[in-house]
């Protein structure tokens, strides 16, 4: 079951776990960024939230909360766990909860408020030290998701800024571990929190090492210098699998790699005819978009570039996620038809376009770009590829300077609706393709307020419309590939494995956290 303990194997006598990570957090302040930055990954063993979700993403377990009640759609009553201590010895109570949410809404110093949480909460009422009531500004179906996200910190730290977390003076949590050292660029060290309420964890020490070079990280896993790592380049998987003492896990995700197509404009900045003259934007014609989609062999890309460690994407959402529509058929490559469609649309000789994408942000993104360009070249389109470093890419991306632009979004369940809204609504900030469909606009206005079951159905409709209109070009859904020394650690498959949440997947925290 989910509570299986990890055991140190004979080979590694020390109760030490070393995890290799390609990225390093920018700060240890668990509240600083909530948008997929890595500190979320390092936080969970140190800080706890009110609630906690496991792999299936559906079941909710209370963590610092004991239970909750929703007397009405905009009121959340929460009973808090008693007798919990922070690692500095102070007791956890309702004031810490209020402090934590206040800090999110109105961060100290120059911090940026986390608007969607701040806006959702009208005020928090303290009934007694172990009971709080969240009064929401309006009914918010996904609100519990916010509670899963927000780490609780101690109100003793007062006006502490990220720097105080970084030097560890404010890094005080209720979790099973505490951070004992952060050597910038090198490692973070965790040791058991002696004041943790549950059973003491198994590892006497966890070291999170930062190893940005993939090949070197893989070598370190092979040599046993690290025990666990993620983002294993798919090409290395076969070799690692055959190595003794190393196991590989791949977990599907809802991160889609897709392209925005410039649909909204009469002419597009990077599309010309083959002599370089500006032409009316061909992407406005659905037939052209379909031709582009038909020309892409998604399975081949997944097989050859990702070694099968990805899922071809024919619609935006991955299976099992809000908005996934099982009735939409896969798209089968058909170059003949693609050519036919192009010439029907009036481009028998094709045209010229530049494909823009990031360089090195999403694993093999550069290779994917080139592979797609090669596939389009085969239906008669002159494609050039411009892969830009992330620092340069997003500015022009937002300014709609591209015609066909790579994007990616790793959806967390509760974020799907807002993201879809801003991406495909006519007035969405992220709608850089300029796609506009009144039907979708109407649906997107309707969905947020709808109850969650209703949302599921409506989102499927949205997906179907987008599929039909070819508003975006999904390519594949990403998979997280982890490797670990099976002779040293035991993997707990029930844990939510997102991005870098390795700490949670391997050193399993105390029992009472996972049992409600």
């Amino acid at each position: 079951n989910g509570c299986e303990r990890t055991v140190a194997s004979k080979e590694y006598n020390e109760r030490l776990l070393i995890i290799g990570s390609p990225e390093e957090p920018q700060t240890l302040d668990p509240q600083y960024g909530l948008f997929g930055q890595i500190q979320q990954a390092t936080a969970p063993v140190v800080y706890e939230q009110l609630f906690f979700r496991k792999t299936d993403a559906k079941t909710l377990y209370p963590l610092l909360a004991k239970s909750y009640r929703m007397p009405n759609p905009s009121t959340f009553e929460i009973d808090l766990r008693e007798g919990v201590l922070f690692s500095d010895g102070s007791a956890f109570d309702a004031y810490d909860v209020v402090f934590s949410f206040k800090r999110l809404a109105d961060p100290p110093g120059a911090g940026i408020p986390i608007k969607y949480i701040a806006n959702a909460i009208d005020h928090i009422e303290i009934i007694n030290p172990y009971k709080v009531i969240f009064h929401l500004t309006e009914p918010t179906p996904g609100f519990i998701g916010y509670l899963v996200e927000a780490p609780i910190i101690s109100n003793e730290i007062g006006a502490a800024e990220p720097a105080d977390f970084n030097n560890l003076s404010a890094a005080v949590g209720t979790g099973p571990y505490r951070i004992t050292a952060w050597d910038r660029g090198d490692k973070i060290e965790y040791e058991p929190n002696p004041l943790f309420r549950g059973k003491q964890p198994d590892w006497d020490k966890i070291v999170l090492k930062f190893l940005p070079n993939h090949a070197a990280r893989v070598a370190a896993l092979m040599s046993g210098d690290i025990h666990v790592t993620n983002y294993i380049p798919t090409v290395d998987v076969p070799r690692l699998q055959s190595a003794e003492g190393i196991d590989i896990i791949a977990r599907p995700s809802n991160r889609a790699i897709y392209f925005h197509l410039d649909i909204g404009r009469e002419t597009s900045p990077h599309i010309t005819d083959k002599t370089g003259r500006t032409i009316p934007n061909p992407l406005r014609d659905r037939r052209v978009r379909e031709a582009l989609s038909l020309a892409i062999d998604r399975s081949l890309i997944v097989d050859k570039i990702l070694e099968g460690y990805a899922t071809p994407a024919f619609q935006w959402m991955a299976e099992g996620h809000l908005g996934y529509n099982p009735s939409l058929p896969p798209i089968i490559v058909d170059r003949e038809r693609a050519r036919q469609l192009l010439s029907d649309a009036g481009y028998p000789d094709g045209f010229r376009l530049t494909l823009h994408g990031t360089a090195g942000l999403y694993g093999p993104d550069v290779r994917v770009l080139q592979a797609i360009a090669a596939m389009w070249a085969k239906i008669g389109i002159d494609v050039s590829v411009e892969a830009l470093p992330p620092g340069v890419y997003w500015g022009p991306w937002f300014d709609r300077e591209f015609s066909v632009a790579l994007s990616s979004y790793g959806f967390q369940q509760h974020r799907i609706v807002p993201v879809v809204r801003i991406t495909v609504s006519s007035d969405g900030y992220d709608n850089i393709g300029g796609y506009s469909n009144p039907e979708v606009d109407a649906l997107m206005r309707q969905i947020p307020a709808a109850p969650i079951e209703q949302q599921r159905i409506l989102m499927k409709d949205v997906t179907a419309i987008l599929y039909e209109d070819i508003a975006l070009l999904p390519i594949y859904h990403f998979q997280y590939v982890f490797g670990y020394r099976s002779d040293h650690v035991v993997y707990d498959p029930t844990q939510n494995l997102r991005d870098l949440e390795l700490l949670r997947a391997f050193p399993v925290p105390g029992d009472d956290r996972t049992e409600s």
């Binding site: 090198d186 992330p390 500015g395």
Partner: protein, 327 residues
């Protein structure tokens, strides 16, 4: 003397000013990083405005610059946009790791490269001299990541002799963390230092060998031989000094260049140095860190070059006098 010092200071200050300005413009031209820090920020214009205001990006460029200068006068380089800590602290924290790496690499380069270069330069027609020369070429031409990966493979995966990743135990001296002084730290240092050093050893070897070849036919070396000086005295008393000016130059440049330029080695070995920090900061357009970093390296180079200039005059007495005036 005072005048010379004042002039140097003035030069340094204006160099720094010019650098900060250049970097400011460069980062401005590259783009605005707000979207990097928070991909969904556009969703919320209010938050975007708040972020821009916090970073000072709402002001016109010249005002941003003036504000930066004003803070600079109080010794404040600003706070890192990414790390939310004083930029200087972010850099200084990682400096020791890089310094010790560079130090070891340069020491290796001189300690090994100099004798090898002399050996190759003095006996030009020997087979081992030819071998040294050719090996030196490979030393400075082989891509760093190859060397790094091969070393990791050989000493880590295969031989399992040396630690391949990260930095070892360190001790705090003068407010910095130094791993050079512990055994564990030293063992961690070996592979990355060797990786960096191979290039430098090749470079030094080649330079010394060439300069030795150019020096030996000179009259004063012939006269020294005619005096009956033993070869090693000729080398130590005459050749070394006469080959040293370009060597001082390249050592000064390379030391400085390594400080910012050991990114690849740092990346491969997971070494927590500032080269990687710079690359990350440039990628994240973290202007305060970039500006502080580059100003720091400018200072570093100015100092290195000052030292080099001083060494030139120590080596070559003819440089001590102001140039013979020409009418």
């Amino acid at each position: 003397m005072i005048g010379a010092l004042a002039r140097k200071t003035l030069q340094t200050a204006s160099a720094l000013l010019a650098t900060s300005f250049l970097v400011f413009i460069a980062v401005y031209l590259i783009g605005e990083p707000t979207a990097l820090y928070d991909p969904l920020i556009r969703e919320d214009p209010e938050r975007l405005a708040a972020l821009r205001e916090r970073l000072g990006l709402n002001l016109p460029l010249h005002e941003q610059y003036l504000r930066f200068l004003a803070n600079l006068l109080q010794g404040d380089f600003g706070e890192s946009w990414v790390y939310q800590e004083p930029a200087v602290m972010v850099i200084l924290e990682r400096l020791p790791a890089t310094l010790e790496l560079v130090f070891i690499a340069m020491v290796l380069a001189v300690v090994l490269g100099y004798p090898l270069g002399l050996l190759a330069g003095l006996s030009r027609n020997n087979s081992y001299a030819a071998f040294i020369e050719r090996a030196a070429i490979f030393g400075y031409s082989t891509p760093t990541f190859w060397i790094g990966l091969v070393l990791i493979y050989v000493f880590g995966v295969w031989g399992n002799i040396l630690p391949t990743i990260g930095r070892g135990e360190s001790i705090t001296i003068l407010g910095g963390e130094w791993s050079l002084v512990t055994l564990d730290g030293l063992s961690h240092l070996i592979l990355p230092a060797v990786t960096l050093a191979l290039y430098e050893i090749g470079y030094v070897t080649r330079m010394v060998s060439t300069m030795t070849q150019e020096t030996t036919p000179k009259d004063f070396i012939r006269f020294a031989r005619a005096k009956g000086l033993p070869q090693k005295r000729i080398v130590s008393n005459h050749i070394i000094k006469n080959t040293s000016i370009p060597l001082i130059t390249i050592i000064a440049i390379e030391t400085g260049a390594l400080i910012a330029g050991s990114v690849i080695t740092e990346t491969v070995f997971g070494w927590p140095g500032i080269g990687k920090l710079l690359v990350d900061s440039v990628a994240a357009l973290d202007r305060p860190v970039i500006v502080a970093f580059i100003m720091l390296t400018v200072c570093f180079f100015l100092i290195l070059n000052l030292v080099a200039d001083l060494l030139y005059t120590i080596v070559d007495p003819r440089l001590r006098q102001p140039a013979g005036g020409t009418a």
